[in-house]
Amino acid sequence: MTMLKIKNLHASVEGKEILKGVNLEINPGEVHAIMGPNGAGKSTLSSVLTGRERFEVTAGEIEFNGKNLLELPAEDRAREGIFMSFQYPVEIPGVSTVNFLKTAVNEIRKYHGLPSYPAADFLKMIREKMDLVGIDNKLLNRSLNEGFSGGEKKKNEIFQMAVLEPRLAILDETDSGLDIDALRIVANGVNKLKKPENSTIVITHYQRLLDYIVPDVVHVLYDGRIVKTAGKELVGELEAKGYDWIKEEVAECK
């Protein structure tokens, strides 16, 4: 079954239309890159997928594993298996990382009719995931993201992804603000978590991350629509020619 089917998606924020008819299909096991210049609608797309209420869907459908995603509130979308690694993860003082994760894991399990994760095993599982992703033990009892550097926050996002085991991971400009070493660690984590049943959408402005998280399909989002879809060779073309070439192509078509 197709994991994600987006048909003719139109979305606005504060009355302004940003997405003007997006079509996209993602199958299990695939890595899709969505690239595009600023203002194209990349973050609007991820906001609409995760259910941020500020954004209004004015037309179109989104089907996730056969379910109508637009009917579900944000927490249910997460419980269905959608995870977003935020571009600017929020700091939440007073809420410890470990308590936060325990609550999230158990709410997701409850949704699926499963009992809570056995308390004794939980910490062990968490530590395994930390080792997998390469995160420092110390952050467990600290407040969520509080005092973390940009790189640490991004790594924490990937760590959460490892714990929550989503079906569809959306990496929203994960590479912004990262140096090459942090980038490698983040990409490494993402690659280790790849399974044939899950998929990844990598939203990025630059091609650098895609050297490490190699996409199967590359889309260019421009002016609220996906205007080009190709294989990973498209990344190299964009790196060489920039986005102007795409803009010209689109203009010619009109």
Binding site: E75, F86, I92, V95, T103, L164
Partner: protein, 455 residues
């Protein structure tokens, strides 16, 4: 006659007619202060009404009830084991009870260092007159404009006395459990005195509880003297029912290098007014005052503080946070005074409030009177609602909106509770706050009586 005049007249009558009873069984030290205190009460206009420090607090409805006042000690039965256990798991304390402001004569204080004294104020007047003369009512007059403090001095007959001599470390926390229990509406006055000697250390934990359904109005004063190098870790958890109101005044006097860590946690109760006065008399003094208040329904909680940097090189940190729901009202007033010679003062103050309903209100008033020029002072106040970004982040991880709100509120409170040094106590307070935020009965589960009254 206006309501205020009637209340003031009633107090005058009570003082006059009850004077001999007040004196009986009380030492000369305490008795010697009464008349002057009552005159001051009258001079200040009696119960504070429309006075600046009580501007947003209407005390009259609470004072305008037919309270019984008990002017002599009545022996009480309290089954320490069964009726009530305010235990904190994993924390061994020296518990001492008071009932309606009186030292419970069944208190058995054992296993404390020989030189340490923990007894009733009445006994202290007789056995330790020197200490009482030196300290009693020396610090409370800092409340120059508060008639309620003067009223306590006029009517106070008993309370807790703690004395830790020089160089002595009292390891085990003293746990003062103030119980209120009566067959009718009751007003009481409790007076406490804590004296910590040079380089001595102590921890005092105070819990306020109600055991019966009636209206209570307690007007309590605690004076604390910290000698050079002394340390006091002070906690107060207010968890009474909605018909129990309290004026709770704390006066701390610090000598050179003395340190005071204070934590006020207000979980439940009727009208609560906390007055906290700290005087940093000599260099190197440090005061850390943290408070957390959680209100709903029609609760009113006032936190009024006055930190006086008299000497140079002292540091004070003050941080109060509150969560208000329904029609509740919180007032915060933080006065920081830096005297002309108090150079190199560091004084930091913050008050943050989270409003959960449209009718909840908060008045936050910082006041800084800085007369020295080489100081570091700051103050800040905020009133806000739930952080939507944080809410979305939690929901995007599968956490439902109700639980997400709980986590954020708990996180908000934890910023204050993390300052609780005793780990078992911190866990207990965390647990009480969690229950409180979820609307569960705020009670120590051992309590026989539910500390929540449906009004």
């Amino acid at each position: 006659m206006s309501v205020l005049e009637k209340i003031n007249t009633d107090f005058a009558t009570l003082f006059r007619e009850g004077y001999s009873q007040l004196e009986q069984g009380c030492g000369a030290v305490m008795n010697g202060c009464r008349k002057e205190a009552f005159e001051k009460f009258v001079q200040l206009g009696g119960i504070p009404q429309k006075q600046e420090d009580y501007l947003y607090t209407d005390l009259l409805p609470v004072f305008n009830k037919d309270y019984r006042v008990v002017l002599k000690y009545i022996p009480q039965e309290v089954d320490m084991n069964e009726t009530f256990r305010c235990a904190v798991t994993d924390l061994v304390t020296t518990p001492v009870l008071t009932v309606n402001g009186w030292w419970f004569d069944g208190n058995m204080v054992s296993e404390i260092p020989e030189e340490v004294v923990i007894c009733s104020m009445r006994e202290a007047c007789i056995k330790y007159p020197d200490l009482l003369y030196k300290h009693y009512n020396r610090y409370a007059p800092a409340a120059r404009k508060d008639g309620l403090v003067a009223l306590n001095t006029a009517f106070a007959q008993d309370g807790i006395f703690v004395y830790v001599p020089d160089e002595v470390v009292l390891e085990r926390p003293v746990q003062v459990i103030n119980l209120l229990r009566a067959n009718a509406d009751l007003m009481g006055f409790q007076r406490n005195l804590v004296v910590v000697g040079k380089n001595a250390r102590a921890t005092v934990l105070v819990c306020d509880h109600t055991l019966s359904d009636h209206h209570f109005l307690m007007n309590n004063t605690t004076e604390v003297s910290l000698a050079q190098g002394a340390y006091l870790d002070y906690y107060q958890v207010q968890n009474q029912h909605l018909g129990a109101s309290q004026v709770n005044s704390l006066f701390v006097s610090q000598q050179r290098k003395a340190v005071f860590d204070g934590n006020m946690v207000t979980l439940y109760g009727g009208l609560i007014r906390n007055n906290m006065y700290v005087a940093l008399h000599e260099e190197g003094g440090e005061c850390n005052l943290y408070g957390m208040y959680i209100l709903d329904k029609n609760q009113v909680v006032d936190n009024f503080s006055y930190i006086d940097h008299i000497a140079p090189h002292c540091v004070s940190h003050e941080h109060f946070k509150g969560v208000m729901d329904d029609h509740s009202l919180a007032n915060f007033s933080g006065y920081i005074r830096v005297r002309p010679d108090a150079q190199k003062t560091e004084a930091y103050q913050a008050n943050n409030n989270l409003l959960l309903s449209e009718q909840a209100r908060v008045n936050s008033k910082p006041q800084l009177m800085i007369d020295a020029d080489d100081v570091k002072c700051s103050h800040g106040a905020s009133v806000g609602q739930m952080d939507e970004e944080a809410m979305f982040y939690l929901r995007s991880r599968g956490i439902g909106p109700e639980e997400a709100r709980m986590m954020l509120m708990f996180g908000f409170a934890h910023d204050i509770i993390r300052h609780v040094r005793l780990e078992p106590l911190r866990r207990k307070i965390d647990d009480l706050i969690d229950k409180r935020l979820r609307g569960e009965l705020s009670k120590c589960y051992h309590c026989m009586m539910q500390c929540k009254k449906q009004e």
